[in-house]
């Protein structure tokens, strides 16, 4: 096949497994809800560490079955049920899979209610025939990176730190939101795209109170952009000192 018209589901190797692990559409590989369960029985394979390892293994298997490898993963999201479970999933276990800080997918670990016994779920997006490249803005720290892979740009969750001062934009939610949106626009440019290429923004705050002001600031920050990116405000874990964090997906040339 040319790679221009490709659509297939990838299934686990187990003969009795009926639910697909994920999907390849053209050069994109997408997977949602990958769990740490046995594909034949649906039973969780053990505790958190075993389930996370199983989910990461499914990610590698899916990428290889789709014609690539972990090198082609652009972005991943892990969902855990307990705030205490975030750190090994975001930190040491992830870093064991992607040891080079200069060459990791965009990533975040957030909280979700999962079915009984399940401690982790994993979503990811991969781009075949492309290699990820990390982009940073001067003065803005990012533990999880913004990457470009092929024509897609995935940020991790960005925050309101101003690169010029190295400090969080003072004044609370609205100034932080304004700085965060500006940072995302600059990241899109740094990665070789433009703010017009941003197709989706997922915002995160501590309570639903942040949503209306964040939405207003989004409208201001993207007043010049048409069509607008999808804006999904979610309430979930964020680093306590921030009032808002936002991630983006951009497709260079995709939105125009």
């Amino acid at each position: 096949m040319s790679g221009l018209h490709t659509l297939f589901e990838v299934y686990p190797e187990a003969a009795r497994a009926t639910l697909p692990l994920g999907l390849r559409v053209e050069d994109l590989v997408v997977a949602g809800g990958i769990n740490g369960c046995d594909p034949e029985t649906g039973e969780p394979v053990g505790g958190l560490e075993e389930q996370v390892a199983a989910a990461y293994q499914k990610m590698a298997f899916l990428m290889e079955s789709a014609g690539g490898s972990l090198d082609n993963v652009g972005r991943a999201v892990a969902y855990v049920t307990d705030i205490e479970h975030r750190e090994p999933v975001n930190g040491q276990w992830w870093e064991a899979v992607f040891p080079d800080p200069a060459d990791r997918p965009a990533y975040k670990v957030i909280l979700a209610e999962l079915p009984p016994g399940e401690l982790v779920r994993l979503d990811f997006v991969g781009v075949l025939n492309a290699r990820r490249t990390r982009f940073d803005l001067p003065g803005i720290p990012a533990r999880d990176p913004t990457v470009r892979i092929g024509e897609m740009i995935f940020s991790s969750r960005c925050h309101g730190i101003d690169g010029a001062t190295g400090e969080l934009a003072p004044g609370g939610l609205v100034p932080e939101a304004a700085r965060t949106f500006q940072t995302l626009r600059e990241l899109a440019v740094a990665a070789g795209g433009s703010p017009h290429d941003i197709v989706q923004l997922n915002a995160f705050g501590k309570t639903a109170d942040y949503i209306a002001p964040a939405r207003a600031e989004f409208a201001r920050a993207f007043a010049d952009i048409d069509p607008k990116p999808a804006f999904n405000p979610l309430v979930n874990f964020i680093t306590p000192r921030f009032e808002i964090s936002v991630e983006m997906i951009a497709v260079v040339g995709g939105q125009r």
Binding site: M1, S2, L4, H5, T6, L7, F8, E9, Y11, A15, R16, T18, L19, P20, L23, V25, E26, L28, V30, G32, G33, N35, C37, D38, P39, E40, T41, G42, E43, Y79, I110, L111, A112, E113, L114, P115, P116, G117, E118, R121, D123, V125, G150, E151, M152, V199, Q200, N202, A230, N232, L234, N236, I249, V251, V252, G253, G254, Q255
Partner: protein, 251 residues
């Protein structure tokens, strides 16, 4: 490159679908109440929620139920499959304008009785494909063409002359491939447009029944679309095949 976004519902940080250009894929549409997130009690309640979640997911992606081409149902208890049809007919009342579907038993998380997946194509309208003498007892067409895509049901290994399952495994495989051929013809496509096959075998040891003709149709192994086989039989039917095709895929 196409545009790409995730599809969310209000209470849930986990996306329930993806939009890649015009193609929307819904994943793990479950039986939770679309507003509260509470799991429904019993199969009817979970199905009612799942159908509403299906509608909302395709609308959140920018389309409507008119854009849905195919739905897969995964059931914790396979005896629940008859419950799929009443809400299906309610959502898709026109027998000449329905998506197609399949249902499968699957290990679901504790308490969950049903999950759905779907394919929809934004900005496009489906055309149902029916074959004379080869018809499902369930309220679905043999296949749906929508936009550049063809989604088949599990095509039946019927002899169109008798409208019954062909006798014997070899004959079933032969009629099955002829019927898939008729579906592809009716869609105005060819085998070179096929991008995925899913084969259903009552006995996986009979793999050559499906794998042999598949390989004949795609002699170049490097360019052969994947054929995923799963153990599944329905009464006298020993073999079934479901395909996805995309016009121009082979060019």
């Amino acid at each position: 490159m196409h545009s790409f976004t995730e599809v969310f519902r209000s209470f849930d940080p986990i996306p329930v679908g993806y939009r890649n250009g015009a193609l929307v894929t819904g994943l793990r549409i479950d039986g939770r109440d679309p507003d509260s997130g509470e799991l429904g009690h019993g199969i009817e309640a979970q199905l009612a929620n799942a159908y509403e979640n299906l509608r909302r997911a395709v609308e959140a992606a920018g389309g409507s139920t008119d854009n849905i081409g195919q739905v897969s149902f995964f059931l914790a208890d396979f005896d629940d499959r008859a419950a799929i049809n009443p809400p299906w007919v309610a959502m898709f009342p026109d027998e000449n304008d329905r998506p197609t579907y399949k249902f499968m038993p699957a290990p679901l998380p504790e308490g969950e009785l049903v999950q759905m997946e779907f394919y929809a194509v934004l900005g496009e309208r489906r055309t149902d494909i029916h074959l004379t003498g080869v018809a499902h007892a369930n309220p679905i067409p043999m296949a749906v063409r929508i936009g550049a895509y063809l989604f088949s049901s599990r095509v039946l290994a019927y002899d169109p002359a008798t409208a019954q399952p062909a006798e014997g495994n070899e004959a079933q495989a032969r009629f099955l491939y002829e019927n898939v051929n008729a579906v592809i013809d009716a869609a105005g496509m060819s085998w070179s447009d096929v991008v995925q096959g899913r084969g259903f075998l009552a006995d996986l040891a009979e793999e050559p029944l499906l794998g042999g003709p598949w390989a004949e149709r795609f002699p170049d192994a490097a360019a052969r679309p994947p054929l995923h086989l799963v153990r599944y039989g329905a009464g006298a039917l020993r073999v079934m095949l479901e395909i996805v095709a995309e016009e121009g895929a082979g060019q």
